[in-house]
Symmetry: C2
Subunit: 298 residues, 2 copies
């Protein structure tokens, strides 16, 4: 077993004083370097350009980010060349020592869940350091993922409360006897985490996704899930502020990472996307750190 994912992530957050998760959601038309027109519409050339573009961004931001989160959907939408590019992005990030959260939101039952765990928490081409997982199918379906994560020092982020406007439809249904559906899920995750090995800061491999667009839910999640690192989407483009996302962190300023994608990776359509990404990432890193300082000052 390698060092736990949570520990590696925290060491990096502390060393670089950054809580930014760089989301990589490739939309080829968003930048001239990857635009289909620049590659005669050839899917293989576009996908290679996407991987090269992502590498440029990683090189420009590697010392400013806690981790990187490639969104599998955008790679899958590019077909076979796209999923080859995803493998390349994961390899490039690992080569640079950046922890990789594969955002694939997988979830299925029994041996099918084992197959997903082996694809995304194993040593294959899409093996990241952590994976996002959907638990609607039941807590039993998390077990193969937990087993994989434990075996190899990797992590999971279970979708608890998502950042979209309609996330309440199922997640906020009031349960008979009290609490919303997503609160029941977070309670069940906390119970499960109690049986898992903890790192020095008391965190386990079992993290959670909680959107910053619902700050009250985020604050509750932070206090009710003391053993789960939170992956927090919704900052910036989706409307959440630095003060909102500050609620995700524990007293030591640890226990969470905040994702931003397009605002960092497509900060400029000019010929210096790396410089633009670096500038935008510094601004986000500093905004998060200032919000944390404000929170802790009397």
């Amino acid at each position: 077993v390698s060092e736990a994912f949570s520990q590696r992530l925290h060491r990096r957050i502390e060393a670089l004083d950054t809580r930014v998760c760089l989301g990589i959601d490739p939309r080829p038309s968003e930048h001239p370097w990857t635009h289909p027109d620049a590659h005669a519409g050839d899917p293989a050339r576009i996908a290679r350009a996407v991987a090269a573009y992502a590498r440029t961004i990683l090189d420009a931001t590697h010392d400013l980010i806690a981790c990187v989160k490639p969104q599998s959907a955008f790679f899958e939408a590019m077909g076979i060349p796209g999923v080859i590019a995803l493998a390349q992005v994961i390899a490039d990030a690992k080569e640079r020592g950046i922890p990789v959260i594969v955002d694939a939101k997988r979830g299925d039952i029994g041996t099918t869940a084992e197959a997903y765990a082996s694809a995304y928490l194993g040593d294959g081409v899409w093996g990241g350091d952590a994976l996002t997982v959907n638990a609607y199918l039941g807590l039993d379906t998390l077990e193969p993922f937990i087993a994989s994560a434990e075996r190899s020092g990797r992590g999971l982020f279970v979708l608890v409360k998502t950042s979209n406007p309609g996330s309440g439809g199922l997640q906020d249904l009031q349960v008979h006897g009290g609490g919303m559906v997503h609160e029941h899920l977070s309670a069940a995750l906390t119970e499960r985490a109690a049986g898992l090995p903890r790192d020095a800061a008391d965190y386990t491999c079992l993290g959670a996704v909680v959107g910053a667009t619902y700050p009250e839910a985020l604050a509750r999640a932070r206090s009710s899930m003391p053993h789960s690192i939170l992956l927090v989407p919704g900052y910036g483009a989706q409307g959440a502020t630095a003060a909102d996302v500050a609620l995700a962190f524990d007293k030591a300023g640890q226990g969470a990472v905040v994702n931003a994608s397009r605002s960092l990776t497509y900060a400029s359509a000019d010929d210096h996307p790396g410089e633009a990404a670096r500038k935008a990432t510094i601004a986000m890193r500093d905004a998060l750190n200032r919000a944390l300082e404000r929170r802790s000052s009397p």
Copy 2:
């Protein structure tokens, strides 16, 4: 817009008098033809053998099945060669005129959902006739899938009540004011389906997955979701009987397909897997039809 998926599926169910959905969940070690040892452990050779094996099964059963359901997880677990094999299986099924349900259980928000819809309900290599979808993120996240399905006469199957032992953990939580979480979801789907175009038999593109291992839930789903075709897992290996799955069908014996995977595709480890699959599929087809007849006799 092509002919609606529901209509094509029903036409085929009627013409062939079969309600069997052939699940393709490749486990290379399960048969000598695909076993890693027979291919020097070479992932590309194993994946090609898996695609060839699936083609053998399709050739042997094409006139006995309503549709085919490749399980993406098992292909993804084989890496790049695996997802190429998935594309091959989808192409082979389409060439044989068999409707393809890609069982990938995707789900995400906004433009990310659009990316998944484009990957699995578009004209790319993984474009099937229908896709399984996870709605925990909210009903709004289904819209990109519905839009894609409507545009091209394809279908969706939303996970409502899954067949695994722990499916109740979230799905069966009792909601304040009455009903379980999965019943609230099915009610919301029915409401959404009311606004969608219907085929001659009153079905829409918006189907649902309901496990036969919970026969009461299946019977309720059939009556509460009159515009949704049901995709029913859990038959055979997971313990549900033909009498259980008969509850999934409407009075005309339509409106559902019943999946079986391993019991059909790995019916024998000998050199005639096609013949064994044919025999097992005939037995399942007939068992389902007999159960439907028993149900409708006085």
